[in-house]
Amino acid sequence: MSIETGIAREAGGLPPAQRPAVTLKSAEFRRTREQSWVDLERLIGITARKGVRALAPDELQRMPQLYRSALSSLSVARAIALDRNLLLYLESLSLRAYLALYSPRIGLGEAGRQFLRAFPAAVISARWHVLIAFLALALGTIAGFWLTVGDESWFTTFVPNWLSDGRGVASTRASLLNGEIFAPWPGFAVSLGHLSTYLFSHNTIIGVLAFGLGLFAGVPTVLLIAYQGLGLGAFIALHYNRGLTVDFLGWLSIHGVTELTAILLFGAAGLVLAEKMLFPDRYSRVDSLALHGRRAAEIAVGAVMMLFVAAILEGEFRQLVASTPWRFVIAAASAVGWLAYLVALRPREQAP
């Protein structure tokens, strides 16, 4: 290439046809590809407004192809073009196509089915966390029982007033039997109301707290679970002292098996968060949390589901089934059911 110095020539005097034609690689590139970008934009517009179902089968097939060609256009344009509007447009087009193509695009039903398949695997992957939560609960229960058996004034310490609901040191064997263990069923509407308030008063809050507080290194989670154990132990001791242990355990276990498992799972989910924050392995803490947080959240969602089941068992069945052996049968059945779903029958992870 030679360098011409001095005054530039002016081609203005020539008739238009003889003026030098300008060919830019980037302009040519744009001319040949532009139609496919416009097509892609149209398909994205349809998807955003009406959903994927509004696309014709051939359009559905073309969309990923157009997306990949837009990405390749973007890469080429970044290398050869200096047209800013073109670069920004291609970037925005690619991003919108990416968002449209890589979003879940499923209904609630399908999400539910996917979740039911994923939940057992998530629980199994957190088995050691479940064990730790179980140990915390067991230790709390033993301590609560041991302290309250000797001195019943501990009961008021471990069990808050709004939960003890009139039961306590002053309760007699008869009042516990008739007012609690074999109290009459209050009817469907009232028990449904009770179910809902109950679900939102105590258990979910405890469980969700145990999960969320996992972000604080897991210490509050373990303490919270152990505290639940203290209350449980205190209740058992109260009934033990009045010779009602077996009846009380039946009354408790009909829903307690499900409910306590749920609480343990909440705790385990919190502990997963704590572990991945404290020991991020080779990732940054934030990345580690993102990588495993979904699994922890899956466990927590599953636990909410179990609390629903527990609330139904408690609200509807517990007072209807006024027989301790039958209560134990239902409790055992629920335990077998959960074990089968979570452990024995879980979908195996397929080899990649």
Binding site: I7, V22, S94, A100, P104, G193, A290, R294
Partner: protein, 299 residues
Amino acid sequence: MTATDAAAATLRRDWRKRREIVTPEGVPLSVELAEYSERAIALIIDLLIWLTASFVVVFLLGYLTVRGLSGAVFVGVLNLTMFLLRVFYFIHFELSARGATPGKRVVGIRVTDRRGGPLQASAVIARNLTREIEVFLPVSMLIASLGGGGGLRWGYVLLLGWIVCFLGLMFFNRDRMRAGDLIAGTIVITLPRQRLLGDLVASRARFVFTDYQLMAYGKRELQVLEDLLRRPDDRETRELLHDVCDRICRKIDWRQPVPPAETALFLRDFYTAQRAFLEREQLFGRPRADKFEAAAKRD
């Protein structure tokens, strides 16, 4: 940051925060984090829709209460329905093909995977359920305890602290993630709306420039000129174009006067020649970010 990046950032009027994600195909895309205000407005719109739906439930239940339903059942069922409505509302819309709740669609923001992978359904569920812990649970407890009378002063402090901590989290991390985003590995971005405008390249050049003249400027100046040429044609623009044309002529030593009527034509030709020159240089491995960067050595 290289000079080219800096120029690109200035040209974008980069007052928003940008992040880069890499799509599964391996192409980096730059995304714009949504503003706090946008997210707040989206949430408010969604909550208004949810409250409207809840009012319907309240009226239905109120009717039943008149027919003899007890107050406790009323509150219980209402709580349950409102919770279910809220959770399923958010999850349903973010999982659907539209990909965002009505509020987010109005504002134009989207949830996406932080690293650019496919957005998982479990991530959507996780981030929406965590919102319960972050906001709704403490707020409802606060409302409940306000209704229940005094004696809970420490409880208030604790709940307020809880809310402040979780809201504060959003302001104290680089990617504006709330706890739900942290757990799910997501970020909230602004949906880009860039339109494709016409190419400014002139097909037949009337003015011809030498390579030596074109070496006066770099990519940044070219793109500023592009912005200028894309401005709507009015008196202000014309004055601006005259001014710019004068400066360019002085800089590249263009001796003939450019008639006022041909200013736009001249600039367009100059833009075309400049872009052709810079693109060729870039292809040969000699990109030039702006006029301050030394021009490539020539033989």
